[in-house]
């Protein structure tokens, strides 16, 4: 069953045509890698699929609903309820501890402080990062940062996890570990995963690889 779909979407930034009619369909529970050369439009595609931005033409559907025509508030609600995101550099709030960073989405969702903290710690444990729960992001290594960021993305139990180069800043050992934990947790949750990556080894973990060239999906590798 198709959960997330882009139909001939186009997106330009000034003169740069980042996406030129991309169509992709992603099934429920699937793990998909989006690969391609630098500047080919991978990140832009991810942003359009996740409702962070809207394409100029074409359609984006999620769970049978068209989302690119929703207003900002409705897309924000959708992202909060159904999606989780991980980016390259963790992007944790520097003033909060790791545990508080993970608890943040729960707090924004209206959960109590204690309850959120308990759930956050449980997720840090699953991500093998309980030992740094009370450290600030400035004190963490790149790998630890990304594991905390993954915990933050998964803590609300999202239907889809979007990850843009989650291992891009890590060496291969740390990268494998982050990716392994992310995919395992997603499988247990039954989440769909969309990973943008340069790295062929990362792509090898996916069920399917979508290659983007010059703003168009050039091929699908199974």
């Amino acid at each position: 069953m198709t959960l997330l779909e882009a139909r001939r979407i186009e997106k330009a930034f000034g003169r740069t045509r980042a996406l030129r009619g991309v169509s992709v369909a992603i099934g429920s529970g699937e793990i998909v890698a989006i690969t391609g050369p630098s500047g080919s439009g991978k990140s832009t595609l991810l942003h359009c699929l996740s409702g962070i931005m809207c394409p100029e033409t074409g359609e984006v559907h999620y769970d049978g609903r068209r989302i690119d025509t929703l207003d900002e508030a409705a897309r924000t609600r959708l992202r909060r309820e159904a999606f989780g995101v991980v980016f390259q550099f963790g992007r944790l709030v520097p003033e909060l501890t790791a545990a508080e960073n993970v608890a943040l989405p729960l707090l924004f969702g209206g959960n109590g402080r204690e309850e959120s903290a308990t759930v956050a710690r449980a997720w840090l444990e699953r991500m093998d990062a309980l030992d740094v729960a009370d450290a600030r992001p400035g004190e963490l290594s790149g790998g630890q940062l990304q594991r905390v960021a993954v915990a933050r993305a998964l803590v609300t139990g999202p239907k889809v996890v979007f990850a843009d180069e989650p291992t891009g800043a890590l060496d291969s050992v740390a990268g494998e570990r982050v990716l392994g934990l992310l995919l395992e947790a997603a499988r247990v949750n039954g989440s769909t995963v969309v990973i943008v990556t340069h790295d062929n080894r990362v792509a090898a973990h996916a069920d399917r690889e979508i290659v983007v060239r010059d703003g168009a999906a050039a091929g699908v590798v199974v």
């Binding site: 996740s50 609600r77 995101v85 550099f89 709030v93 909060l96 989405p105 924004f108 109590g112």
Partner: protein, 438 residues
């Protein structure tokens, strides 16, 4: 290439934030010049003037007015310091190229300060022209006095301008301390250490003689003790503002039930000093404003009327306090801009994860509220103390108390409005484009 050629070259290139800073420094310098000109002008007046001029009309009260004008330099200096810090990382990044070319850190810092000096010089000249025009028209149109006699004598006028430029240069040099430039890039050296706890003793010490007075203890050298107490309280209030902000940020962070409050409190706790600087000026204004309530109540109690002289005097004091608070709070706008620049990618990530713009705006506003409530309340209380006295009709005591509450509320409002004023930057700071930058 000479030093000055390099300085000129650097002046031309510059980011949006740097150009904004240049304009803000110029505005601050213009304001400072106007205040100093006002002080010089008042001191040169002769004889008794129209009663509607309030304290300016009487020879006896003129030095007081001049002093008040001089005091207005305080909020402007805080403003200049804060704007000097704005975009300092941007500027230093450009200057880092000079370090690669072999300039010493001292030279680089001096160049940075020179940029501030140039903006300040421009602002000072504009301020001087504006003041002269304004004074000339007020004298001619409103008071029908001869417009020929020059208001500000040239020598003190020029000295005032030189002083403003010097102060701006020094604050530029001081602001540059927070950034270390190495040939390889820029490191921000933010003081993370919380301000010391013992400064809180200073205002407490200052309050002792005043409390003693209120409860009716007999004191030797009474006027001197009260003056000393008031002075210590005022200085102590300014010194302890950072600590008070830090304390309320900590309490708010521990107690926070919402994500917005938690984010606001922790951001405040991590970077207390800019807030502390603003709150020390805001607090002083609140304390003075709260104190004038007693003076006003005393007058109304004794005379049941306010003549034009005193009405003008009180209005001028209130006006000066409002201007001071506005200028001090405006420094927060530049601080918030810096916060948004630094936290842009982090906030953009939160937004990507489904945090609404309204929630992010609340994070900014709550920083203002958390920072302002404690210092402003303490200031209002301290301001109520020194002049507490017996009134014939005790109902008049309601006036200073109401006044104190209003002043504290105004202080909090000023800080909150300043954070609201920076909200329009939020949209750009958290746009999806910021997800791409490191």
């Amino acid at each position: 290439m000479t030093f000055f050629q390099v300085a000129g070259m650097l002046g031309r290139g510059g980011s949006r934030a740097e150009r904004a800073r240049a304009r803000l420094v110029a505005a601050g310098a213009a304001l400072a010049t106007c205040f100093l000109f006002g002080a010089a002008n008042v001191l040169t007046l002769n004889g008794q003037l129209d009663d509607r001029l309030g304290p300016i009309a009487n020879r006896g009260t003129r030095p007081g007015v001049a002093f008040a004008f001089g005091l207005m330099i305080l909020p402007v200096a805080a403003f200049l310091y804060q704007t000097g810090r704005l975009a300092s990382a941007d500027r230093e990044r450009r200057l880092a190229a000079l370090r690669l070319a072999g300039a010493t850190p001292g030279e680089v810092r001096l160049l940075g300060a020179l940029e501030t000096t140039r903006s300040a010089a421009l602002g000072t000249v504009c301020g001087a022209i504006a003041y002269v025009l304004l004074e000339w028209s007020i004298r001619g149109l409103l008071l029908h006095l001869p417009t020929t006699a020059a208001g500000v004598p040239p020598v003190p006028g020029l000295a005032a301008m030189a002083l403003v430029i010097a102060v701006a240069t020094v604050s530029g040099l001081l602001a540059g301390r927070h950034v270390v430039t190495s040939p390889l890039g820029v490191i921000r050296r933010a003081t993370r250490r919380p301000p010391g706890r013992y400064v809180l003793l200073v205002p407490v010490l200052g309050c002792i003689p005043m409390v003693a007075l209120v409860v009716g203890v007999q004191m030797p050298y009474r006027p001197f003790a009260i003056l000393l107490g008031a002075g210590l309280s005022a200085v102590g209030l300014m010194l302890s503002a950072s600590r008070l902000v830090w304390a309320s940020a900590r309490i708010a962070g521990r107690r926070a039930r919402s994500a917005e409050t938690l984010l606001a409190a922790r951001a405040l706790e991590a970077d207390t000093r800019p807030w502390g600087r603003t709150m020390s000026i805001l607090g002083l204004a609140v304390a003075i404003g709260s104190g004038t309530g007693w003076i006003q109540a005393g007058f109304m109690d004794a005379r049941h009327t306010l003549d034009p002289f005193w009405l003008t005097s009180f209005t001028l004091v209130d006006l000066a306090l409002l201007v001071g608070m506005a200028v001090a709070a405006a420094a927060l706008i530049t601080h918030q801009a810096e916060y948004l620049m630094e936290h842009g990618p982090v906030l953009a990530t939160l937004r990507a994860a489904g945090v609404a713009d309204g929630e992010l705006r609340r994070v900014l506003t709550r920083q203002g509220i958390i920072a302002a409530v404690l210092p402003c309340s303490v200031a209002a209380l301290i301001g109520l103390l020194p002049l507490a006295r017996a009134l014939h009709n005790e109902t008049w005591a309601l006036w200073p108390v109401t006044n104190a509450v209003l002043m504290a509320a105004l202080g909090v409002l000023a800080a909150t409005l300043a954070t609201k004023a920076s909200q329009h930057r939020l949209q750009r700071a958290v746009s999806p484009g910021r997800l791409r930058t490191e």
